[in-house]
């Protein structure tokens, strides 16, 4: 079974539309959205509507958590005063344009989804979170200390952990020795559909393939594809420039 995982659309409708076009060609059997539907662009309502229209199971990201509660805090870790000031504009703008029904949808998104496979009588647990299992806004970057990442996955009983939030996709395979048998855990950052931050302005998502022989004992038995797709970046960037949002967000889209 092939599972499409996408997140961090951040109100970027042209990117979401291009994602749907791309994923339709991939024969995915199931699809999950790992949150952050809104913020940083002008189409939060439209993005929510497209995801609801397709009945796609979604979980809440930190931005959804904030907007769902009409909060002025999105839980984002802005570093400089300038970033903080821009972030304030984005969340107050999003709070202003989001409609009641769409806000109620964000408010009632689940925090985590867990899929428990039992292939060949071996359990294989797939955990879907936005940031980390512990916190919706924890960043799990690729250079995270292996022991720390391992501990997070062990505590959450996740053999395969899929998450977004950093907007920088990767797939890390972590070997763990239990008594004498080695088994593997997979940490998969699925990237961002609408606001990539890895210097590639194209949208990103992940295809996870589980087959009947997939097992924690064989690290190659789980297939992870990090997909990139082109979309009309200029349209999304112009929309930012034509809005009260800071122009810097437009350049971020152009430069990835």
């Amino acid at each position: 079974m092939k599972i499409a995982l996408f997140s961090d659309i951040h109100a970027n409708l042209p990117a979401l539309e291009a994602f749907f076009k791309d994923v339709e060609t991939r024969n995915a059997d199931a699809m999950y959205c790992l949150g952050d539907l809104v913020g940083y662009n002008v189409w939060p309502n439209e993005v929510i509507d497209e995801i609801r229209k397709r009945s796609i199971p979604a979980i809440a990201g930190n931005y959804d958590f904030g907007i769902g509660r009409a909060s002025d805090d999105c839980g984002c870790a802005y570093k400089t005063d300038e970033e903080k000031a821009m972030g304030k504009v984005s969340i107050s703008y999003t709070n202003e344009i989001i409609k009641d029904e769409q806000r109620a949808y964000l408010r009632t998104l689940p925090a985590h989804i867990r899929l428990e496979f039992q292939l060949n009588n071996d359990p294989l647990n797939v955990l879907l979170v936005h940031g980390s299992p512990r916190k919706v806004n924890e960043y799990l970057f690729e250079d995270r200390d292996e022991k720390s990442l391992m501990r997070i996955m062990e505590q959450a009983e996740a053999d395969i952990m899929c998450f977004g939030h950093t907007h920088k996709p990767y797939h890390r395979i972590l070997p763990a020795a239990v008594t004498k048998d080695v088994h593997y855990r997979h940490a998969i950052n699925i990237g961002s559909v609408g606001k990539p931050k890895d210097d590639d302005p194209r949208g990103g998502y992940v295809l996870l393939t589980i087959n009947e022989n997939s097992s924690i004992k064989d690290k190659d038995s789980i297939r992870v594809e990090l997909i990139r797709f082109a979309y009309d970046v200029e349209k999304a960037a112009k929309a930012v420039e034509d809005s009260p949002l800071p122009n810097a967000y437009a350049d971020m889209l152009r430069n990835g």
């Binding site: 995915a28 199931a30 609801r52 199971p57 109620a104 292939l119």
Partner: protein, 245 residues
């Protein structure tokens, strides 16, 4: 948020199509299938293709697992009997069934508490265990505590119900049996599925803070029954559909 749950389509494509038409009008925010896509009827490939096309998140039922290790020789497709329902399943559809997850959990953090939805085909313990409306209350509570479930969704029995159980701590747990789309057994021959509503005030200690609606959908039962009678499947399955038993 409104979520649709359905199960036990059992290869009855006319029933499934009718149910989907109703569901599309209802526009749920998410859809989950609790397994038993196949068995007892002649359209397993059509049902699987539709579920895959729609990318509906599904778990495995006991009938779905019957394709594991199943070898089909040309003679098997001429042989009358129950097994015909599995032999006609195409290779790619079998691969799909073999890799369905056994369980799904949705964890909500709506307020300061956690609300866990647990999706199983039979029970959290076994894919083919029946959790019925009159299953011993303490037994069900123990099973739900073990699974960490506040709201348990099951299928398998083809008899829909919503049961509210009170815990020793004064909280409420819910068991929701989704009934059956394609082979109801509760005397009502119409297809059945569930629309479940969770809102921002849904809490474990307020039994009325979630809403469960059972949708019953008419479909061309005679078409489905006749197709059974003209197939190599046991003829009594046709009356099973007509009289929902």
């Amino acid at each position: 948020m409104r979520i649709a749950f359905f199960s036990d389509v059992h290869a009855n494509f006319p029933a499934f199509e009718a149910m989907l038409r109703d569901m599309d009008q209802q526009q749920p925010d998410a859809v989950y299938c609790l397994g038993d896509l196949v068995g007892y009827h002649i359209w397993p490939n059509e049902v699987i293709a539709e579920i895959r096309k729609r990318k509906i998140a599904s778990i495995a039922g006991n009938h779905d697992l019957k394709v594991i290790g199943l070898n089909t020789n040309p003679g098997d497709l001429q042989q009358p009997g129950k097994k015909y329902a599995y032999h006609i399943i195409k290779e790619m559809a079998r691969d799909y069934l073999k890799t369905l997850p056994a369980y799904m959990k949705l964890e909500y953090q709506l307020n300061n508490d956690v609300l866990k939805l647990y999706l199983a085909h039979g029970s959290p313990r076994r894919v083919d265990e029946y959790v019925l409306i009159d299953t011993d209350q303490q037994y069900v509570l123990d099973m739900m505590n073990e699974a960490g479930a506040d709201i348990l969704f099951v299928g398998h029995s083809h008899k829909p119900y919503h049961r509210v159980l009170q815990t020793a701590e004064g909280n409420y747990k819910h068991v929701i049996n989704t009934g059956s789309v394609g082979k109801p057994k509760d005397g009502d021959a119409r297809a059945c599925y569930v629309l479940f509503t969770i809102n921002e005030n849904s809490l474990a200690h307020d039994a009325n803070s979630i809403h469960v609606e059972f949708r019953r959908i008419e479909y061309d039962i005679e078409k489905a029954a006749k197709a059974l009678e003209e197939s190599l499947l046991p003829i009594e399955l046709a009356d099973g559909l007509r009289y929902a038993r």
